[in-house]
Amino acid sequence: MIAADARRMYRALLRLLPRAFRAEAEPELLEVFDAGYARIIGGSRIARIRFWTLTLCDLLLTAVAERAPFRRSARVSVRTLFMGLTHDVRYAARTLIYRPGWTGLNAGTLAVGLAATIVASVLVRNVLLAPLPFPESEQLVRLREVSDDGGRWWPSFPNARDWRDQAGSVFRGVGIADVPRVRVVMLDGTGLRVSVSRAAGGLFETLGVHPLAGRLFSADENKPGGPPAAIVSEAFWRGPLAARPLEDLHIGVGDTQYAIVGVLPASFRFLGDGAAWTTPADVWTPMERDSDLGMRTSHGYHVVARLRTGMTVDRARTEMNALAARLKRQIHEPTQADAVEIRPLQDFVVARVRDPLRWLLYASLAVLLVACLDLAASILAQGLDRTRELSIRIALGASPLRLVRHLLIQATALALPAVVVGLALAVGALACIRAEAAATLPRLDEVVFDARAGALAVFIALGAALLAGILPAGVLASHRFTERLRVRGAGAAIGSRRLWPALIVTQVALSMLLLVGAGLLLRSFVAAVNVDLGYDAARVIAVDISLPEVAYAEPARRIEFYDRALERLRANPAVTAAGLTSVLPHETSAMTAPTFRDSANARSIFAAYRLVDDGYFEAAGIPQVQMDRTAFRAGGALVDRTLQRVLWKGRNPQGDRVQNNFSDRVLTVAGVVGSVREWNQDAETTGAVYVDFHSRPAATGAMHLLVRYSGTEQAAAKAIRQAIASTDPIVPIAMAPLQERVTAGLADRRFLLILASGFGAVALVLASVGVYALVAFGVARRLRESAIRLALGAPPSTVRTGALSVGLLPAAVGVSIALLASVWLGRALRSQLFHVNAVDPLVLTCAAIAAIAAAWVAAALPARRAARVDPADILRMD
């Protein structure tokens, strides 16, 4: 830790001290701290630990001494804190061991709170805060084009290349990469479906990636017509390539044989489809060797850059905007690059999960706080139960400070087993998250449970234990309480009538807030599940087909293949419908382009462009199809209801003309079909233009079959495999139920929902434990009073009601506070909500009922016991 950080930390810790004291002493304390810290810089680890321990002890001691009502003089020193310490530790250990039930319950409670906080803080640290796994990764930025109308565009290759070549004063390097796509890679005569990407010169150098074996692309290879070279991922090298030596290792991509020159390490991560941060493509080829890199309006490249040392993002933005303006003047080609968006790469990678993770951390802290309050209540109850012992200690001259220390040590001793259990729970939970949330959380593979995480856990545990200990310590060691013990002996002190309800109020309010959050997320999830996607994914299998590029170089052969495969599938009785599409519904990479009616100054909207066959709509279950099949097959286009509504104001567009920028010609509208929700459930419907694939054979290298079946999924899968194999056995396919993709679109929501409801449930259980403990203790304390009242003829129901009210009144107050706070919570959560109001009466009612019910159950058990006592037994005891 550098001195400035250490100083900042110490300064933050000084907040433990009362404000007046701090105002007076802070400069001097900082001076002493600085001087002390300067001495341990470069010293041994032991020296550093010793320094921090002593500093913390000193601070806590001073804080207690300055805040405590018994403050008398400076008659405390660090040494008094350690005097008789071993005795207190031994005593605390004994108390814990002799009461295994009490210890287990409290350590367990704390462990649950700890586990939640550890998981959340490890995720926040590794996913949000830790730098990306590249050298000096804070210099890495992602670039996009910004057009004058505010549109943000993935850069085109020519623009990105100009930035790389002309912005040397801003960037140390600019990397350009393709979005990876699945292609057929030929290896030893077999076709494999492999994700392939292209890297322009300087991509890996910019990122600072070093090859595991071999080398990166040479300048020669990344030139038009350069020697064909490829770099593969470690997984591909160890898997299909069986880790063979790189010399004379070749793979065929398209019609070219590439020599493999290097292997990228398995730890390398890069941008994938959309904003995903994933395992990158298995095969990389040099981008600039190819000639089909598009015009300045052909968007769709990932562009990352490394800022020069000392260059700020703001300055880079200014210089790049100037460069964009200059380029626009010099090059008279249409382009959207009126300005350049520069954003730190890390910021971009984690943007999607920043809010959810932040909420996760807050929720876990709420759970921890509830657990702390449980522990505080428990220690307090135990302390009040031991008033006789405490009064003897005070009578024998134990100072309040010693009492405070005794209680703190007891809390800390509880923290030790709690840390062990909490860590185990956290490791388990992280393993589950790693298995479940791979699609949701980027950088999940970087989440490691290392020594730092362990140290953090211990730190949080000790902090929580001290927090839980300080409250009862403050009450039990308070002047008023000790005086009462001193004067009137053990029987007198019942104590802290105000603190108890406050504990229940806080616990109930916090757990109800968590429930409200979980409820809102649940309603959003249900709304997202029930949203009408515009197609029917049930009982449909999506088959990805990539045709080997050499064997199917001839477009007519591709058309023939698809036609024959479709024909065979439709002939199978297990298949009720089959169709072909270039882009699946709901696919995140669905590309959209400006679409407009073929008339001057027509309004344009973004719409997807799909090559399909006319059986697609039945296979996908898209309703409201009105098409003129003959016109469609003759090269006409189908538009969806969204386009009809926006471009034709709902009128029938049939026979009119439409243009989409993906298509090189103006199309005649041959019909209208229902709209489909692209991207995911949250998105609004975008427009779509459908064109018969027969009319565009050149673009059909990779297509998807949608197969709707009637029998079992296995039978359908078998039928599909047979149909493809009998058409052409060398075509590799991959298939998955279409429903899986729909479900994947809900993964983010499900992840957040599971965690939120888990935390809500845990908090509710912990709060119930707290209410139970407090009410049970209250009842036990007042057993004698109850017995007298029962003996005097009071009906048991009044005793029961009295005991119940001890728990329920504060719970009701807690619920009211939570109701008010949930207005704020709903607003703050708004970005995560979908089709549900920030203040949802149903959610609030359910959460309130759950909270009150939990408190009721927790209070009812001890209340029943109170009403059932036999007065004679109790009164005889005294």
Partner: protein
């Protein structure tokens, strides 16, 4: 001198930590960190004082007018130094004498001896 001597008696006997602080300041004014070092050097093992407890002690000694804060003229050092007041010096001397007598007593060299 006589009156300050009498006043200084009010604070006797001094606590070991307070005595150590006054002793540390006997020779010349010191900044907090040096006092801390000097005091903690008097006991082996666990230090007697931390910065917080030292500050509280200094405040108490200041309130008893045994020490006072002085600003040094050193150019780049904003450090506040602490200095013994005449009363502080007298208290220190008185406490030292008291301790010496106690030591003598322990060694059996008391001039008066137990009656």
């Amino acid at each position: 001198m006589q009156s300050s001597h009498r006043e200084s008696r009010l604070h006797l006997p001094l606590r070991p930590s307070a005595f150590a602080v006054l002793a540390a300041l006997a020779e010349r004014p010191l900044p907090g960190i040096d006092i801390l070092d000097a005091v903690n050097a008097t006991v082996p093992g666990t230090p007697l004082l931390g910065p917080g407890t030292l500050y509280r002690l200094l405040r108490e000694l200041r309130q008893q007018q045994l020490i006072t804060r002085v600003d040094t003229a050193a150019a780049d050092e904003r450090q506040a130094h602490h200095e013994l007041t005449p009363a502080g010096r007298a208290t220190l001397r008185a406490e030292a004498a008291r301790l010496r007598r106690t030591l003598d007593l322990a060694d059996g060299r008391s001039r008066t001896g137990p009656r």
